[in-house]
């Protein structure tokens, strides 16, 4: 440990510390630009300059890279220090006049107008090299470096060409103190107010996530890509980060399975007439939900793309539902969520809300009452499906608006209504992988593509595969109370199987009569379960009853009639045929 004095205050610090680190321990604020805790100091910007007195005498030195020494005396706020810092900032500001952070520093130090004329007005880079060092030390790829010398010096990629080694991690953008670097081609959503930006590699998955712990996204983590970085380790004091975790597949033996794989929102981009993806203020229900969420990108404010609140909002029902071109079924939840949106918009913006509906389906407990409440809140209901959303105006009133064209079936006329924002109440569709999941569990799907229950009324949670149950929207569109009820019922059904402790198998299995069996092994070749083995001693095929599922393929393949499907034996079927064809008089 080393003892030193900073601004007349004594302290003990680790031997490898720098003066800047020691000062920060005391809470003394020294401005920095080219310094980053995770990167070796470079002392390029000189803004962190302080007065140091040690055995070699008194001098001004940048604190970020100056190692502490026993008995050292540091002063951070002498007139000389402040004057030197002022000149440094003035010079930097002269180079990069548009940088906010420099302007703030200049204001603090009382720089005023720089005496020097900038070379370029739009220069932001102060050549501190933090980005270069980040790319080298943290990312480990060295995609950027200094090019040229003297006044021509710039930070760029080799030969100023697109870099082969750059992994577009954005570390340089992140560390740059002046915002001189930007990342091109980052994904953005259509509505800029909904743009969450590219997520950081380490983030809490969403507000109120359970468990509420950050995760590392291996797709964007620099360590996962290059094996370097590990900056998060340096900042995480409890050492909670484990970089060696990998995906694991575990086999768990279970007695029953509940499929609760959910739905996907209808993709409305093929519905060109509504302009989704073309006009930024046309958004889907889920996007509106994101916007009105207090933890969302707008903090719960309803905003247009230009950041202003809308004065009128149109909500189009039945997008992708009750539409023979897409899905014939009713998605059940859209009417109610559209009413909720209307209520929220009225509450938050006091703007006009138009609901364009085919039929209002407020079918649940308290739902009709909520519809009535929205009517009282002066939501305007227009019966007729929205046909088109256009920004081509016909009257001056419509200029700058999104015009919803629809046939009002109560008035019997075509209407055009100009609004600022359009919300498409998109329906629910089966997940894309429902076919594969269904095959995996031998669960068939109904015409609409959702999983098929055993019986629509009497067995709405069971499937044709015993021990496989359904819960929620994977079985069909339904709202939260219905999903909860079905989930609880499925859990109950699964528990009652486990609780019994024994499984009653269907008594349908094949048997092979060893007195008749000729040992031709055809049955073994047709059995899909490997339930038939060959007894080499007796030269006959033998059925393992527990493995046999009773399909009877062996019985119909057996040339000698030795294989017999119990309950579906040849003579039983022949008797059935006989019975079926007997004339009833």
């Amino acid at each position: 440990m080393v003892n030193l004095t900073i601004d007349d205050r004594q302290l003990r610090v680790e031997e490898e510390s720098t003066v800047l680190q020691a000062a920060r321990q005391l809470g003394i604020d020294i401005p920095t630009l080219c310094y980053h805790e995770a990167i070796e100091p470079y002392m390029a910007c000189r803004v962190c300059i302080v007065e140091v007195t040690d055995e070699r005498g008194r001098k001004l030195a940048p604190s970020c890279g100056y190692p502490v020494q026993e008995g050292m005396v540091v002063r951070t706020d002498t007139e000389e220090v402040l004057e030197a810092r002022k000149v440094i900032v003035e010079l930097l500001l002269a180079r990069a006049p548009g940088v906010e952070k420099l302007k703030e520093l200049a204001d603090q130090l009382g720089v005023g107008r720089p005496r020097f004329k900038p070379d370029k007005d739009d220069e932001r880079c102060i050549l501190c090299g933090l980005c270069v060092r980040a790319c080298q030390e943290i990312v480990g790829v060295s995609a950027i470096n200094f090019l040229n010398r003297g006044p021509d010096r710039v930070v760029t990629t080799p030969f100023d060409m697109p870099s082969d080694v750059c992994i577009a991690c954005g570390a340089c953008v992140q560390v740059c103190p002046t915002g001189a670097i930007t990342l091109d081609g980052a994904d953005t959503l259509i509505h800029s107010e909904l743009d969450l930006g590219p997520p950081k590699a380490i983030h809490v998955p969403f507000a109120q996530a359970v468990p509420n712990a950050p995760v590392i996204d291996a797709l964007s983590c620099i360590h996962a890509k290059t094996g370097n970085c590990k900056v998060c380790d340096k900042f995480c004091e409890p050492g909670a980060i484990n970089h060696d975790m990998e995906d694991e597949s575990e086999e768990i033996e279970v007695g029953s399975i509940i499929l609760a794989t959910g739905f996907e929102p209808f993709d409305c981009s093929p519905l060109l007439q509504y302009g989704y993806g073309r006009m930024p203020n046309v958004i889907t229900g889920l996007e509106f939900e994101m916007m009105s969420n207090a933890g969302g990108p707008t903090g719960g404010k309803i905003l247009l793309e230009d950041g202003k609140p809308p004065t009128s909002v149109g909500i189009l029902h039945c997008i992708g539902s009750r539409d023979e071109n897409y899905n014939e079924y009713c998605s059940r939840v859209c009417c109610m969520y559209a009413l909720k949106f209307a209520h929220l918009v009225r509450e938050k913006t006091h703007g006009d809300v138009y609901e364009f509906y085919i039929d209002m389906r407020a079918f649940g407990k308290g739902y009709e009452e909520f519809y009535k409440r929205c009517l009282r809140e002066d939501v305007i209901f227009i019966r007729g499906k929205g046909a088109e959303v256009t920004d081509v105006w016909e009257t001056p009133d419509e200029r700058g608006k999104l015009v919803i064209v629809c046939e009002d079936t109560l008035l019997g006329e075509v209407r055009r209504i100009g609004v600022d924002m359009v919300i498409l109440a998109t329906g629910l569709v089966p997940r894309k992988d429902a076919v594969d999941v269904g095959r995996l569990f031998s669960v068939s799907r109904s015409k609409d593509g959702f999983f098929l229950e055993l019986h629509p009324k009497l067995a709405p949670i069971s499937t044709a595969s015993e021990g496989v149950f359904l819960a929620g929207t994977c079985q069909g569109p339904k709202d939260i109370p219905d999903s909860v009820a079905q989930g609880a019922a499925a859990a109950g059904a699964a528990l009652s199987l486990s609780g019994a402790g024994v499984i009653y198998l269907e008594p349908i299995a094949s048997v092979i009569d060893d007195k008749v069996c000729g040992g031709c092994k055809i049955c073994i070749s047709v059995c899909p379960y490997g339930a038939i083995t060959f007894d080499d001693e007796k030269k006959v095929s033998v059925v393992t009853e527990v493995l046999c599922k009773g399909c009877g393929s062996c019985a119909s393949g057996c040339p000698s009639g030795a294989a017999r499907a119990t309950h579906f034996a040849d003579e039983q079927i022949f008797a059935e045929i006989d019975g079926a064809l007997t004339e009833v008089t």
Partner: protein, 145 residues
């Protein structure tokens, strides 16, 4: 053919798909001819060609075999076995001189009540046009033992 002829068709329906499809046609109260008498089997792969021949010999005018769609078989591959046996059976029927249209293999899933109804309607109409199975003519083509 004879007016008012009501063909008698035996339907072998797989327990997991087609039988449930027929059930769905019933719960959906779909209208279709009553000529197909369903016999439930565990799998279309259980349908021994001898069942079909026995049904025809016992006086059926047609036989419908219905199973799960390819890839959807509850027993993984039972319906593929059914296809193999069906194709062999068709060659045999041809040798007998029995019209191929009298025996049909169809895929009807548990969700396809409407398809089941339309298959039954279509097949009934087809067999009605063929008329009763003329066993006397068939027997002549089979050499006496």
């Amino acid at each position: 053919m004879a007016d008012g002829f009501q063909p008698r068709i035996v339907g072998f329906l797989c327990r997991w798909c087609s039988y449930l499809g027929a059930d769905l046609a019933g719960t959906g109260r779909l209208q279709y001819p009553p000529n197909v008498v369903p016999i439930r089997v565990m799998c279309s792969g259980r349908v021994d060609p001898s069942f079909v021949l026995q049904a025809l010999a016992d006086g059926a005018d047609g036989v419908l075999i219905a199973g799960c769609h390819p890839g959807d078989c509850h027993y993984q591959v039972g319906n593929y076995r059914a296809v193999a046996r069906y194709n062999l059976l068709m060659r045999m029927l041809e040798q007998f001189g029995i019209e191929k249209e009298r025996v049909r293999l169809e895929w009807v899933s548990a969700a396809e009540g409407e398809k089941f109804a339309s298959v039954v309607s279509d097949m009934t109409e087809q067999v009605r046009r063929l008329g009763p199975l003329n066993w006397a003519a068939v027997k002549q083509t089979v050499p006496a033992e």
